[in-house]
């Protein structure tokens, strides 16, 4: 086989994998700190994409520049979700929180469907749209490249925030032992709320990048959220670095495997990868 095809596949896998990573980082944060599986995570992604899209079509703001607004908006969505949906069910079985976020997911998706319709939309006149650079026979789509770099930077920023800042220390303490953290004077409810906001902001950034080269429609979150569940488990729950690397791995497997075996099997391959990893390294690739 032509080596350029292989390189091309690796690069494409890497680029989409980085988007997966950022989505999964948001999910793993919430999961790791609160032990809550946020089913509405994919719908947050969809909301972010629609927010960028509407700002582009309505106000003419390029997705590049509306990114901070989208991120801020999603942070607020995350805070609101925590206050209204998650807080009342904290302290009960995690299943209840799961079902609540599932209900929220159905609600958000269909409200958007109701107001904006089921059509697939694509931004194709933005600054980045459709542009690509060629390099030694390889093609790099500019929006994907830009998104990938953005994803790396944001993931690194989140990592720094959690490992270095005071808030990060509070967050880690809360994740380890909520009750003891409370005794040490950490306002755990505030940490939870901010974590939820931060998780939503991560997926908001991912949506703001994704909208540059991916179709927007009410169901768009489903594929990504299913992938990110697997990525989070692969990387070890609550492990940001793990989620980051596992996202890249899933992107590569999906792209290369999909090419070699057939595109209809690309998700199956990811699930099989997960099952193999779990039987060899039971706590995920980077779990302890």
């Amino acid at each position: 086989m032509d080596p350029t095809i292989i390189f091309q596949l690796i690069i494409s896998g890497l680029l989409i994998g980085l988007i997966f990573s950022l989505i999964a980082v948001g999910l793993t944060l919430i999961w790791g700190v609160m032990d809550i599986l946020n089913f509405a995570h994919g719908d947050f992604l969809m909301l972010a994409m629609f927010s960028s899209l509407l700002m582009f079509t309505g106000l003419g703001i390029d997705p590049l520049f509306s990114l901070p607004i989208t991120v801020g908006l999603l942070f607020l969505v995350g805070l609101a979700t925590f206050r209204l949906v998650i807080k009342p069910v904290l302290g009960y079985s995690g299943l209840t929180a799961l079902v609540a976020t599932f209900g929220l997911s159905v609600l958000i998706r269909n409200v958007i469907l109701f107001f904006l319709g089921p059509n697939f939309r694509l931004i194709n006149q933005s600054i980045l749209a459709g542009k690509r650079i060629s390099f030694m026979g390889l093609y790099l789509s500019l929006p994907e490249l830009f998104s990938a770099i953005g994803c790396v930077l944001i993931t690194y920023a989140v990592y720094l925030l959690i490992s270095k800042s005071k808030f990060g220390r509070a967050l880690r303490a809360t994740a380890l032992d909520k009750d003891t953290a409370l005794l040490m004077g950490i306002n755990t409810n505030r940490v939870f709320a901010l974590t939820f906001g931060l998780g939503a902001a991560c997926v908001g950034a991912a949506g703001g990048f994704l909208v540059n080269f991916y179709y927007v429609f009410p169901e768009v979150g489903m594929v990504f959220v299913i992938m990110s569940f697997v990525i989070v488990a692969l990387g070890g729950f609550g492990n940001i670095g793990g989620a980051f690397l596992a996202g890249i791995l899933v992107g590569l497997v999906e792209n290369i495997g999909g090419f070699l075996i057939g595109p209809e099997f690309k998700y199956t391959l990811v699930f099989i990868l997960y099952l193999i990893v779990i039987s060899l390294r039971p706590k995920g690739l980077f779990g302890w």
């Binding site: 299943l95 799961l98 159905v106 269909n110 299913i226 199956t268 099989i272 706590k283």
Partner: protein, 322 residues
């Protein structure tokens, strides 16, 4: 044993009501609704064993559901084998699948099991979609056969289906009730609440998780078979879908996970809600029915995090105080 007596009283009243319901109201749509309600109550009770009592959340019960419905339908179509045998085959296959998922994963705590069931379900669905013998993505249509219990096919009215499903519902409820009071039931709850403590007391936790999963899978497969034989058409996109897996979880948790009456309560609320909101509000293609459904799910969770059973218990407690 006051509690036991209470159970038998309530249980016989419910059986009686369910048995006469389709005779009193002879509306076909109502009869269909009651059959679905009982079927989902049985299914969710099967899930409740592993997800509610033993606390191991499975997002992949569609695996067993699908296997059951295919095991009953495919041999019936290809060889004319009676679906009763197919049902049993489905159950046995489900137990084997449950074993192969459980052995590597039940050593672990936390969400690894949940994500694994989910991954296996997606793989199994892909397998059936690409399997020629069961007509891949098109799925199977039940052949037209002689009516009767041997073929489990009834074309003229729904009553036989109703009583067959009711019979399985009774079996499932009774088994769960006995299980709750048996050694195994205490083990399950101990595993859910304090796995370390349970292990220290000598409970072989991975083995008992495995038991719960196998029993649950077996009955889920039987429900799948009943579903296929009743609906007469199955395809990977419906019987093996994530929707089915989630619906089972939803019903149980809304009703009350780990509670004997939870699954029945959940399906009494959710199934008619879904059907009627679809009839009244659906059809516009705009998803108003799903908006209502989603909002109600969130509201029930917020106001009654223990499930509807929590509400009933609270009311009962306040009445007891007076």
């Amino acid at each position: 044993m006051q509690k036991e007596k209470n159970f038998y009283t309530a249980f016989s009243v419910i059986i009686f009501l369910m048995a006469i319901a389709p005779l009193v109201i002879q509306n076909t749509h109502f009869q269909h609704l009651v059959i679905m309600l009982l079927l989902y109550a049985t299914l969710s009770q099967a899930w409740n064993l592993i997800g509610g009592y033993a606390g191991q959340v499975s997002f992949g019960h569609a695996i067993f559901f699908g296997i059951g419905s295919y095991a009953a339908m495919a041999p019936l179509m290809r060889w004319g084998l009676t679906p009763w045998v197919g049902m049993l085959i489905g159950g046995v296959v489900a137990v084997i699948v449950a074993l192969s998922i459980g052995v590597p994963v039940f050593r672990l705590r936390g969400h690894y099991f949940a994500i694994s069931t989910f991954a296996v379900a997606e793989v199994v669905r892909e397998l059936f979609t690409n399997w020629e013998w069961v007509d891949g993505p098109i799925g199977l249509d039940a052949p037209v056969m002689e009516e009767g219990f041997y073929n489990l096919m009834f074309y003229t009215n729904k009553l036989p289906y109703h009583y067959i499903v009711l019979a399985f519902f009774i079996i499932m409820m009774y088994l769960t009730f006995r299980m709750e009071r048996s050694r195994m039931g205490y083990y399950f709850r101990a595993i859910k609440q304090r796995p370390e403590a349970a292990e220290a007391m000598g409970v072989y936790i991975s083995l008992y998780k495995q038991y719960a999963f196998m029993i649950s899978g077996f009955f889920t497969a039987i429900c799948g078979a009943l579903y296929g034989l009743y609906v007469l058409h199955i395809e990977p996109g419906t019987v093996l879908s994530l929707d089915i897996s989630i619906k089972i979880v939803l019903i149980t948790v809304l009703g009350g996970a780990g509670a004997l009456w939870g699954p029945l309560l959940g399906s009494v609320i959710l199934i008619p809600l879904q059907e009627y909101s679809r009839i009244w509000l659906g059809g516009t293609g705009k998803g108003i029915d799903l908006i209502v459904l989603g909002a109600l799910i969130v509201l029930i969770c917020i106001f009654e995090p223990r499930g509807v059973i929590g509400l009933i218990k609270r009311v009962g407690y306040q009445r007891g105080k007076k």
